[in-house]
Amino acid sequence: MNPTEHPPDTPAEQPANTAGGAGPAPYLEVDGLSVSYRAGGGEIPAVRGVSFGLASGSKLGVAGESGCGKSTVALALLRLLPRSARIGGRVLLDGDDVLDMRWGRLRAVRWAGASIVFQGAMHSLNPVQRVGDQIAEPLLVHGSAAPAQARAQVSELLEQVGLPAWRERSYPHELSGGQRQRAMIAMALACRPRLIIADEPTTALDVMIQAQILRLIDELVTGLDISMLMISHDLSVLAETCDRLAVMYAGRIVEEGPADEVFAAARHPYSAALSAAFPRVGDPASRRAPRGLPGDPPDPSELPSGCSFRPRCPEVQERCSEVDPVLWPAGPGRRAACVQVLSPEQEHSAAVRPQPQPEETG
């Protein structure tokens, strides 16, 4: 079963930037993704036009505060959102648009094309089913493996994620938080997907266990040559794990670029504030000087005029209430949505044209 839902010769009007610049064709291409929820008679925009690409074998981190839309993006990629959500734009997975796939094809893509590792492994695992049976389930359903074959594969998967094979007979409550997250990763790997979406995979874990899980994910992603989209509020974890970083604010990507550059020298004031919120132990600048960002993210149903970060921005200028900045080139391979990175003539066109198409540098 391989129906291509839209004609393959449709020209892409607005090519999303591939993760590695001029590299291999992106395995995942998200183009103008928007999600809004119907609530109280109105539409509340949760994601407002997000575009990015993810090349095979590369790792993209998506950061932002709660409510910025990062998890909604993750769920939209596999159409896991509730019915009240209205989705627009395109999500191309290996050229196929997930958003208008038929149900059967979508089922095949989930697990085998892309799989998700969720944050709370306790809530994502079935508490009354043995771990091994849960890992075998996608194999039996999607991989059409025979039961005996599936059992052998489960042992192999458990070994791959650093759990002893006898753990397949355990129930989730018999495992520690870190072990459960390992089991989740084994399940996500079961059908050999080419993309893993990890939504806050280490948030509830201790530093040492977090380090174990991050190393495991890194080894697997690199070893099996799969792409990864990792979502987290922790910019320091993403900077350490991913090649590229996208910072989201109020439903949009406000900065994107190579992970270490965005973390160490952000161009958008929001990314800069987020990065400063993670102190480097040993750095005299952050000793007895915790740094945060005053205020709260805007209510998505009442976004301010102009730049949505304006009310909290430490570097706000007068023009920020008029210009709603979109992503603009901000150095080689980097983009930021802030009037400060715009040159005067770019700013003029940004104010006139709602959707300018920036020239990609690098």
């Binding site: 900077a239 132990v281 750095d283």
Partner: protein, 346 residues
């Protein structure tokens, strides 16, 4: 460090500590047939006036149990908790007085606040328990809210927790503690459930309460960055014991215990050095290993460095002992660190 001398806590280090654990042990008896869990297994720890102490460790190391014992919520099986030099009594009346002066702030403000109580009621409740409803109640509630950074306080009186952001809820929880004018706050992972941007704001608040009002705090956390951000002293806990203690600069910038070193090495963006990821989970407090309790996971013992220093046998057989609680001098419970430092050439 000069910054250390400027800190209010450092000036009256000679006075009796506000709150102290002395040889404290807390054991939980297992269900029939199960062995006893020694959650806190001999800890000396002092919190001086106006001092912020970070108690750092992984889940299951006993740090929350120690905090609960300091609040009088769990009775120690040995040793004692002292408030201003006096042992804690466990009769209701004695506990009530101490509980006004030692306040708890929990991790998750959403769970800590009653969803059907307004902000005013949430903050006033503790005061009513201790002083009854007085005429100046509103004044005190307003002041506590203002000190927690909720200004103007009157605007928040009639709000419900669900109308507030996570950071505002944590401020309400802190105001509920401040309204009793405590001398020390015990905060268990006060920012773990908050967004990064809000986290800094709440930490600034704790720091300001100390600087402006001399409020001491014990902050229980697994987050070393938090300790670096606000604490004066740090105590690193492993399997029921404090294994390293000293000023934050000593413990976090120049760690001596292999466990502290490993914890620091796995921080994202730790920079120099290969991360030292310890295998496995923190061991079980029902089966504390003999000798040094860290020896089965110790990278120094595994690498042979302890053998080379001639202490490997002691690591396996001899308990390095308890550390003193005052933290006046940096201390470490490690045979290898002691042997290495005793060598004439560094």
């Amino acid at each position: 460090m000069s910054a250390e001398a400027d800190a209010p806590g450092a000036t009256d280090a000679t006075a009796a500590p506000v709150l102290a654990a002395e040889g404290l042990e807390v054991a939980f008896t297992g269900r029939t047939g199960r062995s006893t869990a020694r959650a806190v297994d001999g800890v000396d720890l002092e919190i001086g006036a106006g001092e912020i102490v970070a108690l750092v460790g992984e889940s299951g190391c006993g740090k929350s149990t120690l905090a609960r014992a300091l609040l009088g919520l769990v009775r120690p099986s040995a040793g004692r908790v002292a408030f201003r030099g006096r042992g804690l009594g466990y009769r209701p009346r004695e506990l009530k007085e101490v509980r006004r002066r030692v306040q708890l702030v929990l991790q998750d403000p959403t769970g800590a606040l009653n969803p059907r109580h307004t902000v005013y009621e949430a903050v006033a409740e503790g005061r009513r328990i201790h002083s009854g409803s007085t005429a100046d109640e509103e004044e005190h509630v307003a002041e506590a809210l203002a000190r927690s950074g909720l200004r103007p306080p009157e605007r928040f009186f009639l709000r419900y927790p669900h109308e507030l952001s996570g950071g505002q809820r944590q401020r309400v929880a802190i105001a509920g503690a401040l309204v009793l004018q405590p001398e020390v706050i015990v905060a268990d992972e006060p920012v773990a459930s908050l967004d990064a941007s809000v986290r800094g704001e709440i930490l600034q608040l704790l720091l300001r309460l100390r600087d402006d009002h001399g409020l001491a705090a014990l902050v229980v956390t697994h987050d070393l960055g938090l300790a670096w951000n606000i604490a004066d002293r740090a105590a690193v806990m492993y399997l029921g014991r404090v294994v390293e203690t000293g000023t934050v600069e000593e413990v976090l910038a120049a760690p001596r215990h292999p466990y502290t070193k490993a914890l620091l090495s796995v921080l994202p963006e730790a920079g120099a050095g290969e991360p030292q990821i310890l295998a496995g989970e923190p061991p079980d407090p029902t089966r504390i290993p003999g000798g040094c309790r860290f020896h089965p996971r110790c990278p120094v013992l595994a690498s042979g460095a302890a053998q080379a220093a001639g202490v490997a046998e002691r690591c396996r057989s001899e308990d390095p002992g308890m550390l003193g609680g005052s933290g006046a001098a940096a201390q470490v419970a490690c045979h290898w660190a002691h042997a290495r430092e005793a060598e004439p050439t560094g």
